[in-house]
């Protein structure tokens, strides 16, 4: 069952914007819980402000943002800045889902969202296993700073 040594690793999850599709993020939350993370699930239709407030309140290590509408390019700018303003510059920002409409090379999309302050950006079809491994490595590294 859950490894309690990791239970202090806290992640905030949610779907940004107007979208109500949650199957992907729910599976990820389930996997995170099984792996021993504390998960603060905000559901769908979450605003940037709500992500930041939840991270403040729960002392989150990371915010996992899902976006499925293809409108991530308009929904993501400003999130990193809001984290910094709230004194959360050390909180990791992960982004995944269907981020854009049309066929644009993944590498350029990844670079674009990293330029907006995202620490990791995942294409569709990413296994929760990969995200969990990245979170464990990144959070441990941040905590050693």
């Amino acid at each position: 069952m859950a490894d309690t040594s990791k239970s202090r690793m806290t992640v905030i999850t949610g779907v940004i914007g107007e979208d109500v599709h949650v199957v992907g993020i729910r599976i990820l939350e389930y996997a995170l819980g099984e792996a021993g993370f504390k998960v603060v699930a905000l559901g769908s239709q979450v605003s940037q402000k709500e992500f930041v407030e939840a991270a403040l309140e729960a002392s989150g290590d990371a915010i996992l943002v899902s976006s499925l509408s293809g409108h991530a390019a308009t929904l993501i700018p400003g999130l990193k800045e809001k984290c910094i303003e709230a004194g959360l510059e050390n909180v990791l920002l992960y982004l995944g889902g269907f981020l854009q409409v049309g066929e644009i090379a993944w590498e350029s999309a990844e670079a674009k969202f990293k330029g907006m302050g995202m620490d990791r950006v995942y294409p569709p079809g990413t296994s929760p296993r990969k995200v969990i491994a990245d979170l464990e490595a990144d959070i441990s590294l941040r905590r050693r700073r």
Partner: protein, 480 residues
């Protein structure tokens, strides 16, 4: 004030109604007495309940799906095409997403834009904007009953206009709208607005107009039968209190046919039992099924197989309505031809099966029925206990605490602790039962079934198996 399962008095209903009709200018054109007279003038073949009663008597199955365009002209073109080319027996109105959020101003802009471009830019028909007179033109143009198909936290004005316009069926699903369609609406609010539309249907019924309500509770793949049965039963009790007399009970089939048929049997039995136990007259129930999958197949041959399977499920379950998605589901918004082909496929399959008797394996059916029944009863009984006999209060408490849970709710007020996975025969089993009030025996049964699949696969089932379950049908298999 605490909301309870109590029929709205006429005073309460008409007081609330004044506010509802003032939400948009077309509300003032709703005249209930005139609408009742209009419904009474409809021939039986345009009335949903009459049509479904006929289907039940003759053992027929009718395909249904949602269809919606921005303008009345396009809507008439679509529905008449599907009626003629698709041989559809029942029609549906999908309502656009702006209206579902009660944003009638944005819907108005969508209509104007659609007229300018000569094609629909909305994903459904904005019923409120077109008003009663607008939708009456659709009813006059078609020869089949039309049902409203949409979900909204506040469906009150849409339903007022929709029924007065001539729809003879609609949805009244507070749990579905709370769980799946909005992330910030409290359950109390959803129950209150849906109570109003149930009361509206009750008012039509009291005046001799049959309206078919409907509910399904949960939506989508990975939803265990007993959870769905419980969510339907508690809502049937709420509907009966408000005077609903006819309801289409819709549930998801997952592809293990013994389990699917068991769900139908238990749903029928518990509907009767709980209504009787709680002192209500039985309401006329019709069954409707859909093959539930997260990802539909993109390839067209496989997509037709899904329509066949859906129809076979309806046949085995003794359902009257065969709720299909079009063969273009994985691609995007279907064309009228996509919709007509899909209806025609279902119709021909139904013709082939008509009059034949087919059955699933008796022994398997018996096991699945016993499990679904004992599980669903555990949940419903606990709901009633939590509400001290009041199903509304019990449901509110049960949903908050996860006694009545949903694995894939969009609303963070739902615990989402429960998770189901397929066994090696494609039947759904609880991988995690969260806070569902299940006995040790029930849990052992599920664990045993999961262990059988683990043995075959040679590994522990986890979320990766769950992902593969949700994608399986899109790859042309039931379970990988």
């Amino acid at each position: 004030m605490e909301i309870r399962n109590k029929k709205l008095t006429e005073d309460e209903f008409f007081r609330e109604r004044k506010e509802v009709l003032a939400q948009w200018p077309t509300g003032k054109d709703v005249d209930l007495a005139e609408a009742i007279a209009f419904h009474k003038s409809l021939p039986p073949h345009k009335v949903y309940v009459h049509k479904l009663k006929g289907a039940k008597e003759r053992g027929e199955i009718y395909a249904i799906t949602g269809m919606g365009k921005a303008t009345i002209e396009e809507q008439i073109e679509l529905l008449t095409y599907v009626e003629q080319e698709g041989q559809a027996d029942l029609l549906g109105t999908s309502v656009d997403s702006f209206s579902r959020q009660n944003d009638y101003e944005e819907a108005e802009r969508g209509i104007a834009e659609s007229r300018k471009l000569g094609r629909s830019v909305l994903n459904g028909l904005p019923l409120v904007n077109h008003g009663v007179a607008g939708f009456r033109r659709v009813i006059e143009a078609v020869n089949s009953p039309v049902s409203m198909r949409y979900g909204a936290a506040d469906p009150r004005l849409i339903d007022e206009i929709g029924y007065a316009g001539g729809h003879t069926s609609g949805s009244t699903d507070a749990l579905m709208d709370f769980w799946h369609h909005h992330s910030r609406v409290p359950l109390e609010t959803a129950i209150s607005t849906h109570r109003y539309v149930q009361r509206l249907i009750g008012y039509y019924e009291e005046h001799g107009v049959p309206i078919c309500a409907s509910c399904q509770g949960l939506y989508g793949a990975g939803i265990s039968p007993s959870l769905q049965i419980a969510a339907i039963i508690v809502q049937v009790v709420m509907m009966a209190e408000q005077g609903v007399r006819n309801a289409r009970l819709h549930f998801a089939c997952h592809g293990n046919l013994a389990q699917d048929v068991a769900t139908a049997n238990v749903l029928r039995r518990l509907k009767q039992d709980y209504l009787k136990k709680l002192g209500y007259d039985d309401l006329e129930g019709f069954l409707s099924v859909s093959f539930s999958l997260v990802q539909y197949p993109l390839e067209v041959g496989s997509a037709f197989a899904v329509v066949f399977m859906n129809t076979l499920m309806a046949k085995l379950c003794g359902a009257q309505a065969n709720d299909i998605r079009t063969v273009a589901e994985a691609k995007g918004i279907p064309t009228k031809e996509d919709t007509a082909y899909s209806f025609r496929t279902a119709k021909v399959m139904e013709n082939f099966l008509q009059g034949q008797r087919i059955e699933v394996d008796k022994k398997e059916l018996e096991i699945e029925t016993r499990m679904a029944e004992v599980e669903a009863r555990s949940i419903v009984d606990r709901v009633l206990e939590l509400g001290d006999g009041d199903v509304v209060q019990g449901t509110i408490k049960a949903v908050k605490s996860g006694v009545l849970d949903n694995p894939f709710a969009t609303n963070p007020a739902s615990p989402c602790k429960v998770m189901s996975i397929k066994d090696s025969a494609g039947a759904l089993r609880y991988l995690n039962h969260g806070n569902l009030p299940f006995s040790k025996d029930i849990l052992e049964f599920h664990r045993g079934k999961i262990a059988e699949r683990e043995k075959i696969k040679g590994k522990k089932l986890d979320y990766e198996t769950l992902v593969s379950d949700l994608m399986a049908v899109s790859k042309g298999v039931l379970v990988e």
